[in-house]
Symmetry: C2
Subunit: 536 residues, 2 copies
């Protein structure tokens, strides 16, 4: 048996030896610093920090003074550190509007790829100006930094969509890890995380492609990756200077991001197409999902009144403001024609065409509704959180995607056979009606949704437990260096073995050259001897 | 809540709905067919089938009539189906001898790479002739096949080092999965399993390289991969015809292997260098490891008599016959010079130089000794099973590798800082003595061994549980298609996007051609106008 003195560990983590030698490690209490991103990202990371609190850890959230959803709750033991910034919530709202308009005006098709990525570049510029304020608000804020230094954190968990979390961790001298849904065309995961992504069957995020591509689609995918890389290279330029300045040595954003101990990716193989990854990537999609709770009495009565037909749940998510009156009427008149009862999350003016089967709500207990046995379909904008609640409960989807990863998410669900898509801009009442009838009446959609649900539920460890396991692992071991691929130590041409290939080609050329020379020399000598013999 | 009727599953697998919607799946009893490989491979897979039996599954082993280690135990509920073959145990012995001689004569160095792989090719030929008898013994044996058909198996678990398990599964119409330590240069995993392996940082198996390579080593690695691919392509040729004939359509060995639902790889990131993999690869190294049991009384007394100095455990594994008298004396005299007590598994003549501190045993309870608090070092041939017991218990190693993956395994442990290697052919007494003193007295070896041990023990789920989970998963879902990468549907030039690159280059060439033409045309026109003007 190994004695306890052989084991070196942070003192506050107690390691017990149970039966001869089965190590059971109990983290008494860790100290976690969270670097979140606002919006739906926060809704997801909040679940992780609630679980950390449950497991007796201290949690501090580091967030800007202008946030949409991130706020402290006086009843919660989560501590908040506020980063002073001069931009306003209205700037964030306009950024989101800019993002929605990008998709409405330039949704990526083969013909609009270039404009789409060019506009995305502009969006990144706006984002940069907001993000740099957050960075400065911490890194150039000696009082806040001193407080953080004193905090004695064991790990920083960052959503890297808001840049600089890694820098803060390096400045504090603590390990950091990421929680990430995706980066456009997986540029960050590929370049900074070093996961391979063969363009032949790994669709670029945002491309709306699947893993089964025609030749034309593979061309589009290859171009998507290249354009994306190009856009990011220019975006990163500004960050590279900032990172070098802060760390006082020439470095890049990507090199710094590559130091993340673990990447918690917010999808899983129920949603994702199988693709290569690395051991420091953990796919924890759906970690926020949980069994349905009973509905409020009034709502339960309405749901029960649907009888055999069941209900349709309809929400366009937390980020989208109300629809135009025309659009709302068009939707309401489609909903009025189905036998199901409809629960619609909608804050706008009551549409004139609203049917007796449809009720409007300011807010819906979405997960409890989707987990209700009467849920027949879910009309959704296709945010990852909502998609995962539908996967968890096995509910077919009508996708009305708007921006960011939403069109891509719906493309995934269409490929898996659980969704029909309607275009928010061009749809007619009949389009929505047909889509709803299809997913409700064609049994393949329910079957596929149940298949995904079974896959989701049949994992060796639940996603939330895996996410928290790796956070605790990084705290226990002060990192997860044994999972870090050596690819990080190579330049791009070494990584692709271009120097080796060049060398081998040079060797081959030399051999060919020497053989040819020898051959020519012998030939000439032979020729001379021949001539001599002839002349003799 | 989803009703039980929505869930389609093999009838004998009961699925329970606990709390609103947390699926807990209980496999009442599955029926597993095992296609093993003999030798140390069997020792590993035996642990899996014992666990399957524990979990109430029926297990049948399909093995040839000439086996070394694989045998039925009248006390065990494991059923055996015997494949009649005409070769004898002595043929297997000679194959192993051939393998040992290959490494002794041609152990791969930059200068011997070509001869090594050429000789490996010859070895594969011998192996082919033995293996084909096993295949014929099942597939051309209507009585046995009929019995297997009647068996109603849910899954076949194959060690693909013995080829044809997959064919048997396809003929029986059941899903199959692999348990594999490695294939030379990962040829099978790369070509048939589709895992990417960048030659720049993923060392080819058998190359004895690590993930930190100099330029020269990267050249060696690239050549190792290429030579290996070349050797395997010729070896596979014969199998491709066999597979096509059996399945009655043109196919290849590799295409058929690619249908494996899950690849259980018998290593983990404590031993392996981090590398890309796919979601249907599960790294379950060390699944056979368990806490140490008390030693036999005489042995415990001998171990305790070592006092503070502790003991050294010495075994060259189950596959190696005794040493020459000279070699045994050389080893014994080195062992006589250390203050530790030594337990040596050795069946040969007692060496004249044997010290009072060394005892010979016909067999050792290796795991119990390595798990004993007095174990200071382990002298090992470097088989994966033994290496994992040392990792599990945190014991430093002196590696005396002989053949197959042993030199490579020791190279891994050297890179992780837990082993010193001595060359069995060229070593002197002093070499062995120095190696032993180093791993025992330099504390870094123990520290690194304990670090690996902590990594091994700190997993979300134990390797054996994960292995069995995925076997049960394949039984519950009749496969694991959601983990199968679309790379399997592509030809090699599609996989590498060569058609897309060709097309884009052709497009670029056309554009350049047209632009040049236009430019030349305008230039000429301009020239003519100029001349006209001049002449005017």
């Amino acid at each position: 048996m190994v004695s306890i003195k052989d084991i070196t560990m942070p003192k506050k983590f107690v390691q017990l030896l149970v039966f001869n030698f089965t190590l059971t490690e109990i983290v008494l209490s860790g100290n976690v610093l969270i670097w979140p991103t606002d919006g739906s990202h926060w809704l997801n990371i909040k679940i992780i920090l609630e679980e950390l609190i449950q497991r007796n850890h201290d949690v501090t959230v580091l967030a800007s003074s202008a946030t949409l959803f991130i706020k402290s709750n006086p009843d919660s033991p989560v501590h908040f550190e506020v980063i002073p910034v001069s931009y306003k919530k209205s700037n964030i709202d306009s950024l989101i509007e800019h993002m929605i308009m990008l998709w409405i005006d330039h949704r990526p098709t083969p013909l609009t790829l270039w404009t789409f990525y060019k506009e995305l570049g502009k969006l990144l510029d706006t984002f940069f100006r907001i993000n740099i304020q957050i960075c400065d608000g911490v890194l150039n804020n000696p009082k806040l930094m001193a407080r953080l230094q004193k905090g004695g954190y064991d790990v920083l968990v960052a959503d890297p969509v808001t840049i600089c979390g890694d820098l803060v961790a390096l400045k504090l001298g603590i390990p950091f890890m990421y929680t990430l849904r995706f980066s456009p065309a997986s540029t960050v995961e590929r370049h900074c995380g070093k996961i391979p992504a063969p363009a032949s069957y790994v669709p670029a995020a945002l491309s709306e492609l699947t893993d089964q591509m025609t030749f034309g689609e593979r061309v589009k995918n290859t171009i998507s990756y290249s354009l994306q890389d190009y856009i990011f290279q220019s975006y990163w330029g500004e960050w590279n200077s900032y990172y070098s300045e802060v760390l006082g040595r020439p470095t890049t954003l990507c090199e710094t991001m590559g130091k993340a101990e673990i990447w918690l990716i917010r999808t899983y193989w129920d949603f994702e197409f199988p693709r290569p990854y690395l051991p420091n990537f953990e796919f924890v999609g759906g970690l926020h999902c949980k069994p349905a709770k009973p509905l409020p009495k009034e709502m339960e009565e309405f749901v029960q009144s649907s009888g055999e037909d069941g209900v349709v749940v309809f929400s366009l998510g937390s980020m989208v403001k109300n629809l135009t009156e025309e659009k709302a009427n068009l939707i309401a008149s489609a909903l009025a024609q189905i036998p199901q009862k409809v629960l619609w999350r909608y804050n706008g003016k009551k549409p004139a065409t609203l049917g007796a089967n449809t009720r409007l709500y300011d807010w819906l207990p979405q997960n409890d509704l989707l987990g209700h046995p009467k849920a027949k379909a879910f009309i959704t904008h296709g945010g990852t959180n909502g998609i995962y609640e539908a996967i968890y409960h096995g509910v077919p989807l009508v996708g009305v995607p708007m921006f960011a990863d939403q069109p891509d998410n719906i493309a995934h669900m269409k490929a898996k056979g659980t969704a029909v898509e309607v275009n928010i801009n061009t749809m007619t009442s009949a389009d929505l009606l047909n889509a709803l009838r299809t997913v409700i009446n064609d049994p393949s959609y329910k079957e596929n949704a149940m298949r995904l649900s079974r896959i989701h539920h049949d994992q060796p460890v639940k996603p939330l437990d895996r996410a928290v396991f790796w956070i605790e692992f990084v705290m226990r071991h002060k990192g997860a260096k044994h999972l870090r691929p050596a690819a990080h130590d190579l330049t791009w041409f070494q990584y692709h073995s271009l120097d080796v290939i060049g060398f081998l080609l040079a060797c081959a050329a030399t051999v060919i050259f020497l053989v040819t020379k020898c051959f020519l020399f012998s030939f000439r000598k032979l020729g001379k001897t021949g001539n001599k013999k002839k002349s003799e």
